[in-house]
Symmetry: C2
Subunit: 210 residues, 2 copies
Amino acid sequence: MKTGQATQKTGGRNPQQTQQRILEAAVQEFSAKGFAGARVDVIARRARINKRMLYHYFGDKEGLFREVLRRKIAERAAWLATAPEEPMERLPAWFQLACRDREWVQLLQWEALQWGEKKVIDEERRQENVARAVERVRQQQAKGLLDPDLDPGQLLLSMMALTAYPMAFPQLARLATGLSVSDEKFQKQREAFLRQFAVLLSGNKAGPTP
Amino acid sequence: MKTGQATQKTGGRNPQQTQQRILEAAVQEFSAKGFAGARVDVIARRARINKRMLYHYFGDKEGLFREVLRRKIAERAAWLATAPEEPMERLPAWFQLACRDREWVQLLQWEALQWGEKKVIDEERRQENVARAVERVRQQQAKGLLDPDLDPGQLLLSMMALTAYPMAFPQLARLATGLSVSDEKFQKQREAFLRQFAVLLSGNKAGPTP
DNA sequence: CTTTCAAGTAACTTGACAGTTACTTTGTAT
DNA sequence: ATACAAAGTAACTGTCAAGTTACTTGAAAG
């Protein structure tokens, strides 16, 4: 009984690789076109598999979308856990993440438009992740690294806004700054801006070293 | 020669009213479903006109979308011109606008996803509007109402982010605060938060009255 | 009255797309 | 070897949606 652990013949069958390829093609297509605009045939062609296999593994188009979102969420949660704590580093780091993984921003955006305020895919896990993030904001406030007068939930939301908005609305960023968001110059500029901004967020009524 | 100026018979023909009805139905459908997801037949049914008329007046689906966006932009530009100048009033006012006109936020969001960083519908007029807004930020900075060390373009972008983000990503706002964005409690809370925030934005190193 | 053209309608065409059917191939266990 | 199930394929189906065709109705100018 040798349940094919080292089955790596490039020519032969390989269910896991097939699923992986489908998911990679799907995340591209869904983040670019959204759920309604995405074409199952395009995903199948890009994954170089027969469309039937997609239905075999994921049931239907929506099932595939759910799985794509589920995995992205897990990936992001892992990343955020390793992100820096100090606001002055955190804001630029979050922004850089949004720059590097625009698929993520776009998937959230499609989700917002498609499902609005209704219960969301993978709700429970996400609630936990966000609750942890709010808790960390509270700790920063207690330590005096963030203004303690501000509501922590609203503050977290604002930090997301400041870091993700330019990638979510690239046309507005371009109108406001004259630069394309994928232009390195824009990215440097925004990073510098966010570092300055972080100082304001700490509620710097006192000097830095008392 | 009496070119029908007062043709207001409710039962008869009325091209202007027909166009108006199409546009009203279209803005609803497009903001709810986006360009790809919107259905021409639904727009026609909601406008209580024959689909053919839609093609008659607007050419095709995209032509209709462009016109919808064009009008919304004009409407918003007019509103913004009347909005308060002081940051402490301005942020809550912008936020309230986003609450009242979610169609607007959603249309921009669909636009971002569909056309990304490419040249945008009605580009020139919008560039002018935004340039004026940036100029106003500069004036506020000169007057000491906004921190003069911050880049005005980035600052404007951030003000848009802080006020529009919750409506653009209602699912994230709900995860972060536990409240629905259409809940009045959420709206009051965010308004209060933004008022506090505006104080930070003024770079309050000195007291209010020198 | 009648001509004329814009306003308006219903039924149709064409293409695309999600999902299915009926079939073949391949690896593995008995 | 051979039975069996999972992996894989090509061609098909039903539906839906954008855009068109060929026609009718209404108002107003002469």
